[in-house]
Structures are given as C-alpha cells and as structure tokens.
Symmetry: C2
Subunit: 244 residues, 2 copies
DNA sequence: CGTTGATTTGAGTAAGATCAAGTCGGGTGG
DNA sequence: CCACCCGACTTGATCTTACTCAAATCAACG
C-alpha cells in the first residue's frame, strides 16, 4: 500500500476519455475506496483460479489478463490500461478464471468486496456503468478472437499496435509522437498466439516498411493509415467511458 | 412473431441449470416481454454494426455470435444456447460490434429497449444477474481465446466438443447418450480459426480414436475422460445461472 | 433425376513453429 | 574500470502444421 490518492483529486477522471461523475456518485466511490496498492512490474495482481475478495481499478501503469494451459502455454487475453477494472468477474462468478499481472509498476485503487452489491442497490446509474465496463471489455476480447482466429501474423501485429496506440493516446500517454510500450516481444507473442521468433520477424517487417517501430520501450506509428490497411482494422470511435 | 409463451410457464426456468426467480421478479420480467420471435436456421438475428433496439433471450434453438473482416473472413465468437441473452452489448455500448445468426430454427423472447434501465432502477438483484450473464459470456470468450491462441487443432476441436457437450447437457438436451449438434464443419472451422478441410481431418482423427463423433447432426462422446485429456481441458463446475 | 450443401480425399504449398546460436545493452559485483 | 550476467532481441536452418486448390462422394430434397 502507498499513500492513497483521494478520489476527489483523481488524476484520471479529468481526462477527456472519461465521463464526468454524476451527482453524489464521486463521494460514494470515494467512501468505498479502502486503499491503494502498488505492484511491481512482473508481479501478479491476481492469480489464476484464486478467489480474491477485492475489486481494483487500475490507477496508473499497464497490466494484463491471462489464462494458461496445464502444461504452461500462456495466452494473454487483454491488456489493461488506467481506468480498467480488475476482479469484477471474481465477484460475480465464483472464482477468477484468469490471472492478472503487472506489466509496469502499477498503482491500484482498492475497493471492498461488497462494493459491487452496494453500487447496485444504491446507485443504479453507476451499476449500469459497471456493466458497461464489463460489456466493453468483452468487446475487446471479441476483437482479439477475430484477430487470432482469422488474421495473418502480419495483420495481427499491425492490428494490435494500432489498438494499443489508440488506447494509450486516449489515456493521455501520447508524448512527442510516440506512446510508452512496455510489452516485450514475448508479451506480444502471448497476446497474438504466435511464437516469439515469428513475432520478432513480423515486427521487423513492419519496421522496415516504415509502418511502426517499438524500439526502446516506446511505440511510434510511422503510417497509421497504412497500418490500418494492412491490419484490415477499421475505426470504431470510442465514446467517453465511465470510471470507478 | 409466433404465439408468445407467458413467462410464468417458461420451459427453461424449471431446468436444474437455472436459478429460480426471486419474489416479484418473474412478474416484472413477464410484464416487460413484448413478444416472441421466430428466426429460421441460417437467418440473421442481429446484423453486424446494426443498432437494434431490442433485447432478446434465446428461448429455444441454437445461434452464434460472429464478427467478420472487411474481406469476408468470418470468426464465430461464441455459440448461444437457450437462456443466453442477445443484444445487451448494443444497449450498453453504442452499436452492435458483432452479428448474431441462427444455427437452428430459433425462438426468442423479445424485450423492449428500456428493459435494461428499468431493471437497474427497480430490481437491483436482477440487474446484478444481468451483469453476471455478461461476465459469464466474457468468460466463455476468454476460454475461446486460450483455445485459438494456444491449443493445437486437435486440442481445439476436442475442447470445443467437450464444451458444447457440457452446455447442451446443462440445457437438458441429452437424449440417449448424445446431444443435438447443429454445427456444420464450416461452423466449427469458423469457431476455432481453422480451415474446413483441416477441421474435417481433425474430426476424423477424433472419430477414429473413438473419442467423439459428430455424425448425423448429433454429438456422441465416446470417451469424455480421454477427450478432456487431449484437450487439456479441466473441469470448471457450472453453478446455476440466472435467466431473463 | 438434377441440384444443392456438406463431407471427404489427394496433392502441393506456405505460414509459422522449433531448435540452436549469437548479439546487444544495461546492470552488478569484484 | 572491467568482467560477466541476464534478459530481450535477432538470425539462420529446418521441420511441421495447417492452408489452398481441386475434385470426388454423399445425402437430402423437390
């Protein structure tokens, strides 16, 4: 735990990508925040199958959800950026069917386990936001299935880079034409269902074509339009999202 | 539209896989059901990108959610069985990011567009159920990603068959050691990110090994244990689910 | 029968995996 | 300061899985 940031001073909420809170809701949320948690890059936030009884929202840093097979093969389901919720599934279903691991050092707002139910009882509009978030995450996962199932390696990598670039920009991370990019090639491979070697060669193809470069922990898109074209990735405008 | 079945006589709810309705909720749901819709096998229920303003629940028959790329490649996201909800995403997010198509002739309970919001306002416990359903569907999609991304073709097919068998049994469709299986090999291929030809050969392998047979529109698992083993598929017990 | 959709088979190919080294760069400890 | 370590990235060679193309079979149905 580190010194908690009061929700009234939230650094995320003012960002253009987030909806402003409605009357009374911010105070309600603030009252339920029981602390703040810091997790180091590479460490686990929630373990696969574990029944954690907290809900988190990612305040700063990057993380990812993953699942693995008994023999160790691992699949990353989804990259988490600030504003994303962690642990909602565990609250609703019996246990967590996936793990969560920090990609960078990460700060999490911690909420008590009864948070969800009290939101539903007291603040229906906020509860609807929570469901919105769940539906939105499912949409991301749907997109991932389409990529992994039907795109070629080149298309997959291109689509992932466009996708992450867009989200990073929406999180206010754009700085001098590039965004932070904390994924290693092994992470990309685990996200896209590819081997590390093939991921490497595919990234090189994109780099040589002047489309995208991930060097030095930052992502530069040389030609967004062109990248979209090779990825067969068409724009879906992102409306402002709710935040907890 | 065909003659609607009143919710009080629902054929699904008594099944062991579904939670009983709480006090007052059944009447509430019944009042919001505006009709019943029949869709022929192969016809679309919701089109990709369309902004349908209804919510459905699948009363009888099989369907599937899908997404496609501009050039026509198609990926099935998820198979829908009786009790599944259709169109929740469209209500929450702006438009439908995926299409839904009937696999068999299908009956749908139709609810008005404001259904969701009124549930959240009036019946918080029911709203939580709705979110449960969303989280549950996401879990299925998470599993699918793991399969497509990290399992071999043989493992994928085996895992899908086990999965669908389990769900069909939970829907009360088991009859004489087999369940209905309305998917063509092309559907399986689109679900698993394989080509039709390879799907065919893989199914033959399973058949010859005495593990599973999909002949004649029915699925017979010759050796569930063995199938689980090749699929690296471990049991996740399914608690009773809410129904709308 | 003729048509249509689903399944099956065969042959050739290509995308991507695997195996095995090797490089590069940023720590750490001597 | 330098040796060395370690993780991430890169390269080459080879192998395998799964795709593509093309055609045959099969069954249901009007």
């Amino acid at each position: 735990m580190d010194k908690p940031l009061p929700c009234t001073l939230c650094t995320l909420r003012p960002l253009p990508g987030f909806k402003p809170a409605r009357e009374g809701e911010l105070a309600f949320i603030a009252r339920r925040k029981v602390g703040q948690l810091r997790v180091r890059a590479g460490a686990g936030v929630i373990s696969e199958g574990g029944a954690d009884d907290r809900i988190y929202t990612l305040l700063a840093g990057w993380a990812f959800r993953y699942k693995s097979l008994p023999d160790g093969r691992r699949q990353i389901l989804n990259i988490l950026l600030p504003g994303d919720i962690i642990g909602l599934q565990a609250e609703l279903l019996d246990a967590m069917a996936h793990g969560v691991e920090a990609l960078t050092d990460v700060s999490l707002c911690v909420f008590a386990r009864d948070m969800v139910w009290s939101v539903f009882r007291v603040h229906p509009a906020l509860a609807l936001d929570l469901t919105w978030l769940a539906a939105h995450e499912e949409r991301l996962v749907d997109d991932a299935i389409l990529s992994i199932g039907r795109r070629t390696a080149l298309e997959r990598v291109a689509a992932l880079l466009v996708h992450l670039y867009k989200r990073a920009v929406a999180s206010g991370l754009l700085d001098g034409g590039s965004v932070p990019f904390p994924l290693t090639q092994a992470h990309i491979a685990d996200t896209l269902g590819l081997s590390v070697v093939h991921t490497n060669r595919t990234l090189q193809r994109l780099r040589r074509a002047g489309l995208a470069d991930t060097a030095g922990g930052r992502l530069v898109l040389g030609d967004l339009r062109g990248l979209r074209r090779v990825a067969q990735y068409w724009e879906q405008p992102a409306p402002p999202r709710p935040l907890f």
